[in-house]
Structures are given as C-alpha cells and as structure tokens.
Amino acid sequence: MSTATLPTPLTKKDFQTDQEIRWCPGCGDYAILSAVQSVFPELGIPKEKFVVISGIGCSSRFPYYMNTFGFHTIHGRAPAIATGLKIARPDLEVWVATGDGDSLSIGGNHTIHMLRRNVGLKVLLFNNRIYGLTKGQFSPTSELGKKTKSTPYGSTDRPFNPISLAIGAEATFVARSVDVFQQHLKDTLRRTAAHKGSAYVEILQNCNIFNDHAWESLTEKDARSENVIQLEHGKPLIYGKNHDKGIRLNGLELEVVQLGNGVSEKDLLVHDERHPRPAYAFMLAHMEQKPGFPTPIGVLRAWDNVPAYEDLISAQIHEVQEARGKGDLAKLLHAGDIWEVRP
C-alpha cells in the first residue's frame, strides 16, 4: 500500500494571516485581498511557492495579510527585488503588489525594464489615482487639474495611462479590472496566474478617504454597463445596458456605433488579445480618453510567444555548462599564464 497521501486542497483561509489589517474601513484594497486569497488556492501551487513582494504605500502592506512568503521592501523597487528573486528561483510564483505612486512614479524605471525583459512576475497595480499613505497628494495617474493637498490650485501634471505605458514598454500581458467587480477581478487574476512572463494588471481601486468616488462613473450600478466595455478574446466589442452599442474600426479610428439600422455585430471590431501590432492595443487603451467612449476592462494584450527572462538566463547557463563543462575552481584560479617558483 502506498504511504503517499494527497495533499489537502488549499482554501482561502490558508492564505489569510493572523495580522491585524490596517487599511481604512471601506478601502478597495480589502476587495483585492479577498479576490487574491480566493484565487491562489485554485492554482494548484503549493503554498510555500508563493512569494508576494511589495514596495511602499497602502497597497504595499499587502504581503503582511497574505499567509505566504512575503517581502515588504522599499519605495518603487519591488519589481527589481522580485526580478532578482525570480531569476535566482524560477520555480517560485512571484507576485508584486504596488500602487500608482510606487509603480509609476518612484518605481517607473523598474516597471518598464521589468516589462521589456518579460520577467515572470505578476504585478497588481492598485490604481486609486492618489497618494494615500502620505495623506492625499496627487499621483502620476491623477487627472489634470486635480485639487489635492499639494495642488491646491489644481494639478498641472498630465497623467499616465498605466495600460498604455505597459503596452509601450512591450509588456506581454496587460489587463485591467476593478476592485468591486469581484467576479471579473478573479477571472482576470486566473488569467494573470496562467501567463508566462510579466503580467501587468491595473486594478481600479477606490480610496474612500482621499479620493472617494474616483471610479464612480464605472462602478455605479446604473452607469456601469454604459461606461465599461468588457473585452473578451474573439468576441465583438459590445456594451451597453441592452447590449446595443459596439466599437467599430473606421480607418485608424475607433467609433461607437448603435447596433441596428443596418449595423450588425459583424461590423464590429473583434477583440484579439494576441494582436501582434502595438497600434491595436494602444487604440483600446486610449479609447476611454475620448468623450463618449467606454473604459475597456479585461485582457488587452496576451502575447504567449515571448520567452520569460528567467528562462533565457537559465538556458544560457545550461548551454555554457553543456559546452564548457561545469566550472572547476582550481582551473579557474590557474587560468592564463602561470609560472612556478621552486623552493
């Protein structure tokens, strides 16, 4: 008889810690935490293989509340620390929790370089368009003209569109979800987990203390279906309460069309998350900036043909060792011209 026993399946509870959660009551971060704790047990990965790395900010307290290996690091540097970890241990499942200030301001450099290298990290960007932990200054995603503690007369900064930035950095997986859309968020996290290489997920998150209602036009029950379009690979871009609106390609422009009166689903743009050209993903990313257009959520891009950085590094070491044999320390020390001094 075999003595091996099947491991007990993990549950959400296994990923909860005994630490007192110190986010403000009503913060969108609770919903994200709950979604992650729900999805992790489904992935079939042993708990000890999960590592959550974060930088600084409200969102970066995330690792303390996940009963996995966790590292709360310094402001903006989580992608770089996680890169070192992932290269050294490609077998680990490394997730990064970050915010709009952490990832796009102080850590902008690490973010773009992680994405271009395609390091196998899953990055959750909690975007609340404000600095929360420092109590209410504008962030790199705050809208132009925004009045905050540090911009009493309105912000003069043009904001980043995180999705567009990630696409520009040649990210291989770019997605967006919303804290309160739990089902969509979990689905997005499952897709994120399955991706090899860098996965960048913008999660629109509400800061009810310093930037309440920031995403209200998307999350309010009545407005939701009119202002949000859910992207699904291979399906036409349709939205609206009555599923009667669509997005059509007209030359190099997108346009909103009303279905009916000769306009059918066949005329609409069909979402292709594997589209090889950046222009396609950029068009989707920038759609919301035009008046009258909905905000896209879901997976904007999923390229599955780019090797993960850590795999390239491991493969190169393996190739060199195959070609040259494993390093011999004595040979290394004696390399080049040597001479002997006799007694």
């Binding site: 810690t17 630490q19 042993p46 708990k47 000890e48 293989k49 999960f50 590592v51 790395i53 690792p63 303390y64 009963n67 996995t68 290996f69 966790g70 590292f71 709360h72 690091t73 310094i74 540097r77 770089a80 620390i81 996680a82 890169t83 070192g84 970890l85 992932k86 290269i87 050294a88 241990r89 077998d91 680990l92 450099n109 690490h110 370089h113 590094i313 190169q316 070491i317 060199v320 060792q321 040259r324 044999g325 494993k326 390093g327 320390l329 004595a330 290394l332 020390l333 004696h334 390399a335 080049g336 011209d337 040597i338 001479w339 002997e340 001094v341 006799r342 007694p343």
Partner: protein, 617 residues
C-alpha cells in the same frame, strides 16, 4: 608560430635590481595593451612587479592632445616591488603630449624613447608646445632616443598589404619589441597573445608580430643602444603564480565563495568605472552557474541582489562612489531585513562624477555611516590586488554567517593595478557553511543564534516557513510589524551588537616592523604598497617604526587600541581628507596625525618616507 630565440646582444649587458618603465601615448595608441604585455612577460620570467595603468576618462579625446594621454607604468624587480615606482628609468612617449605629461617623473639620465615621426609642428601645437623639445636642449638631462617609430613600422609591414592607418596601429608593438631587447626578454608570450587575440584576422597576427620583431631587431642593429639590462627573477615564496589585477581577483574570489558555500552567485550590477571589469569577468563565468544581471540602474543592481539573497543565493553588487550613493536606501533595507549581501565599492575620485578613472579612498565614512538612522555594516578593505581575492571570500563568509550586508572598499589603483599572485590550493580556502532553516516547529524569523546574533535564513519554497519581512520595524523574535518604543531600541541595539560580534572573526593586529617604539603607521586599502616600501628604508636609518594595515574597518580589531598605545606617535596616511584618522582619534582618544593626498594618484614611497622623517627627525 615558432618561438623567437632571444639572441644575446653583442653589446654591454648590465645587471640591475629593478626598473620602472612607463609607456605613454594617445588613448588610441594601445598603451594599456603594451603595458599589460610587458607586465605579463616580466611576470612569467619571475620578477616581482607592480603596475599603474593611468588612463583618461574620455574614450578617445582628440588625438595628440594632453587630455588624450594614456599611460601604463610597470615596476619590476629581482627583490620586491611594493609600488609601481616613484620615478621611471625608461619612458616611451609616442607623441609630444605624452612627453609633456610624463617627463617630470623620468629619472635624470633615464632612457627616453620618443616617436620622432609624431613631433611635427601640428603635433607640437596640439600639445601646446612652442618649441620642439627634441631640438631645444630641454631633454639634455636624459638619454634621448629619437626613433622613427611610424616610418620603421610601415617599412616592416610593407609586404602585409595593410593600409597606412592600419600599419600605424601596430607601432606600439614596435615600441614593445624595443623594450624587450632593452631588458633582454623573450617575445614568446606576447607572440602567443597576438596569435590568440587576432586569430580571426591572420593579417593582423602577421603585422603585429612583424612590428614587434622589427622593434627588437632595430635595437640590435642600431649602434645607438650601447647597453641592455638584466633583472634576475625575484625570490618569491615557492608556489605557482599568476598575474592578477584587483578586479579580476575580486571576481575569482566571489566565484570561490559561491563554490565553497555551495550556493549560486548572483551579481546585480550597473556599469561604472572602475568597477565594470568585475561584471565583465563574472559574466564570463556562466559555467560556474554565475548569474549576472546588468540592471537598469544602481538601485536595481543592489535590490535585485537583495532579492536573490532572499532566494538563497550569494547576492553581490559592485559599483563605485556615485553608484554607492544611489544604493544607500537599499543597503538600509538589507540591514533591516538581515539578509546576506556583499556590496563592493571600487572607489574613485569624487565628489559626484569626480575623477572616474583615478583612485581615491574617500568613501570610508560613506561606507560606515552613509545611511539614514542607525544602520551598521561591516566594512572590509583589501590592501593589494591579490588580497582582493581573499577579501571577497571573507566578506562573503561574514555576510552569510552573520546574515548581514558587508561592504568591500577597493579602489581604482587596486582594481587596475597588477601583481604576481600566489595561487592557493582550493583546499586552503576557508569553508563557508550555509544553513537554510527548514524546521517549521515554532519557527520565528527573528530568533537569533546566541553566538552570532544572526537570524535564520528561511528561504521561499520551504514548507511551513511562510513569513513576512520588510523594512518596517519589526518585533524582536516574531518579526511582526511593531512600533513600540522599547522594542525599537532593542532592535537597534541588537543590529549593532550583531555587527560588533563580528570582531570575533577579526584577527588581532600584529604590527609590521617594530612592535613598539617611536611611530606607528595605521592605514588601510591600497596605501599598503608605498607604506611597506617606505618602512624598509626608514627602519634601516634607526627609527623604531611599526605599521598596522587594517583589512577590517568595522569592526576594528579588538587589540588595536592597545597596539596604538605602544608607540609615541601615530601617523595615518590616506588618500582622502583624513577619514580613518578621525575615527581613530574619536575611538581611542589618541593624537594621531593624518597625512593626506587627494590627487587621484597613489602615494609615492618617497612621500611617505619624507613624512615619517618629518615626524621623527
């Protein structure tokens, strides 16, 4: 290629104890290659040696100008060569600018070889010379050899079919061939090197070999050279030797540390002069499983190494002053999370960009104190190029044993300078035991080893050890977030006590020279050579002088205060404004005197001698 038979010259040959040669010319003239080849040859012959490559920060300043001058000095000897030498016996100057910059260091009656073909009016103007030194008697104090280096090289290469420009690029080998004749050395090792270096371009193998042989034959044929020199091999300790520079020794030391520890080496680095060669060397050692990560910036370089250390690798980052400044915050994180890490700062002149290619040792206080709050870090400094190997091993061993980031302070002089290095047996290397925590029963991430105060190294992937760490203050033992006043004070004191405990790894100092007496010299880093050389001379003059050279700057050896007390006076030579001397005065309440040189150049032996006499006579 057949080996060259070194024909005994017909003329006079004189045996001398030592010689100092400097090759200098334009940045594009290949002076570093020439110097390295000469060094290798004299090393293989068995001389002791020390080198000083001195090159500009600009890759190719306008040809023939003063900022473009690149030099390489070799001191080789039948006894000891602690320094590259204060003054030269032979100067090879490829153009007027090189002559102008370097002439002051040539000994009276020294041999001066110049490329007369590059002393035209335009060349003189580029060097801002108003009259031709070859004609105006300014060089009367030297044995001047005006050689048509360009014309002779072209003549030697006329059969190769190379264009004039390509032929001219071989003239450094003509000059090298001359020096091989002058010091009666075999060209074999350089011929081998040329063959390997240019193996994909056989015409360049032929051309460079021809040029060198032509230079050699020229000296033999011309009546101008009436004398050549012989410097017998030095009596080094028995063993197998090779040449090493500080940077290559550090790279090998880190590989050795990784092998002895049985964990992979991860280097996170961003290119910076004069540290980049460590990255270059380690990136070629992939067969040892070495991971090199050329990061997007200095911060990512150190933080990726911290990530790798967290994963259970030997995390290393290499840099120089400006990069060190950028790594500061992350170094504080490594102190707080108590992970092993080695940070190697190859110091250069500062502040800011400063003197990128020149040496200095002014980052000591930065290494010790340059972080926010109380963030103590052990600091080690190699004293010779070969010592860099041992320091790399020691720093790695301490980092792992004490779960602490360790700083190595090398400098530009050690990094690029070379010396013969006795190759150790692998069995002689220190063991570096690594113990990853695996026991989940009552696991606490900040429970300490009572002897070392180190916390356990609990790496991700270990079942049952899931835990959180971070830069935020944590509770003693549990590691949970904690802001309580007394806990914070306890943690600050524990981190300091852990670094203090490393003193048990630091051997007591034993002064070189007199064990007590008139004067103790206390120093660190690359000043070892000139101080050791100067000590020899002053002690023969009856002064009772001791020398302590610190390899551990934090914590300091426990008997240092007692040793200092045995001497009447204390002198601290440093290539900075007086950083170690400030620490010694503060810690030991001793009236130590600083001697400071901040010129981007190492001390000369004579400067140290003079200072000692000043203090004692």
């Amino acid at each position: 290629m057949s080996t060259t038979v070194v024909r005994p010259p017909q003329r006079k040959r004189e045996t001398v104890e030592r010689a100092v040669i400097r090759f200098c010319g334009d940045s594009g003239d290949g002076m570093q290659i020439t110097g390295n080849q000469f060094t290798n040859t004299v090393a293989l012959y068995g001389n002791d040696l020390a080198t000083f490559p001195d090159y500009p920060a600009e890759i190719r300043a306008p040809a023939g100008t003063i900022p473009g001058v690149s030099g390489f000095q070799v001191h080789f000897s039948s006894s000891d060569a602690y320094t590259p030498g204060d003054a030269m016996d032979v100067l090879i100057a490829m153009n007027p600018a090189a002559l102008k910059v370097n002439l002051a260091d040539l000994k009276p009656n020294g041999i001066l070889i110049v490329n007369v073909d590059d002393f035209g009016e335009t060349d003189l103007r580029k060097a801002q010379m108003t009259s031709n030194p070859l004609e105006d008697h300014t060089l009367d104090a030297y044995r001047l050899f005006s050689v048509e280096l360009t014309k002779l090289t072209r003549a030697a290469l006329k059969e190769t079919g190379l264009d004039a420009k390509s032929m001219d690029r071989c003239k450094n080998f003509f000059a090298l061939g001359m020096c091989y004749w002058l010091y009666n050395r075999s060209m074999d090792s350089t011929l081998r090197w040329i063959e390997d270096k240019f193996k994909s371009k056989p015409v360049l193998v032929q051309a460079n070999c021809l040029a060198m042989q032509a230079g050699y034959s020229y000296c033999e044929a011309t009546e101008a050279f009436q004398i050549s020199y012989e410097i017998p091999p030095a009596k080094l300790a028995p063993g197998v030797y090779r040449n090493v520079s500080g940077n290559s020794a550090l790279a090998m030391g880190f590989v050795a540390a990784s092998q002895k520890a049985g964990i992979p080496l991860f280097l996170g680095s961003y290119p910076i002069t004069p540290a980049s060669d460590i990255l270059h060397a380690l990136s070629a050692y992939k067969n040892f499983g070495v991971i090199t990560f050329q990061a997007e910036d200095e911060i990512a370089a150190i933080t990726s190494a911290i990530g790798a250390a967290y994963a259970g690798a030997l995390g290393i980052t290499t840099t120089s002053g400006p990069g060190m400044a950028l790594k500061t915050e992350a170094l504080g994180l490594a102190v707080a999370v108590e992970l092993p890490l080695v940070v190697c700062d190859v110091q250069r002149g500062g502040p800011s960009t400063g003197l990128p290619t020149k040496t200095e040792q002014a980052d000591l206080l930065q290494a010790l104190f340059g972080r926010n709050s109380e963030a103590p870090v052990p600091v080690l400094a190699p004293c010779t190029p070969g010592d860099c190997f041992w320091i790399a091993l020691e720093a790695s061993r301490i980092a792992i044993k004490y779960m602490v980031p360790v700083i190595i302070l090398s400098d530009g002089y050690l990094a690029n300078g070379a010396e013969p290095w006795k190759i150790p047996e692998v069995s002689e290397l220190p063991e570096i035991p690594v113990r990853f925590e695996t026991n989940p029963v009552d696991f606490k991430p900040y429970r300490r080893n009572p002897e070392t105060l180190a916390r356990p190294w609990a790496i991700p992937g270990t079942p049952g050890l899931e835990h959180r760490i971070g830069g935020i203050e944590k509770q003693d033992v549990t590691g949970n977030i904690n802001y309580e006043p007394l806990n914070h004070e306890r943690m600050v004191r524990l981190r300091a006590a852990k670094v203090e405990a490393i003193v048990q790894e630091v051997p007591d100092v034993v002064p070189a020279g007199d064990p007590s007496g008139d004067l103790l010299i206390v120093a660190w880093g690359s000043t070892y050579g000139p101080i050791t050389a100067a000590m020899k001379t002053v002690r023969t003059k009856g002064h009772r002088v001791g020398h302590v050279h610190l390899r551990h700057l934090n914590p300091l050896p426990k008997n240092l205060g007692e040793v200092i007390g045995r001497y009447d006076k204390v002198l601290v030579p440093e290539m900075n404004m007086g950083q170690l001397v400030m620490l010694l005065r503060a810690k030991y309440l001793v009236d130590a005197q600083g001697y400071n040189k901040i010129q981007g150049k190492p001390f000369k032996k004579s400067e140290i001698e003079q200072k000692i006499h000043e203090m004692l006579d």
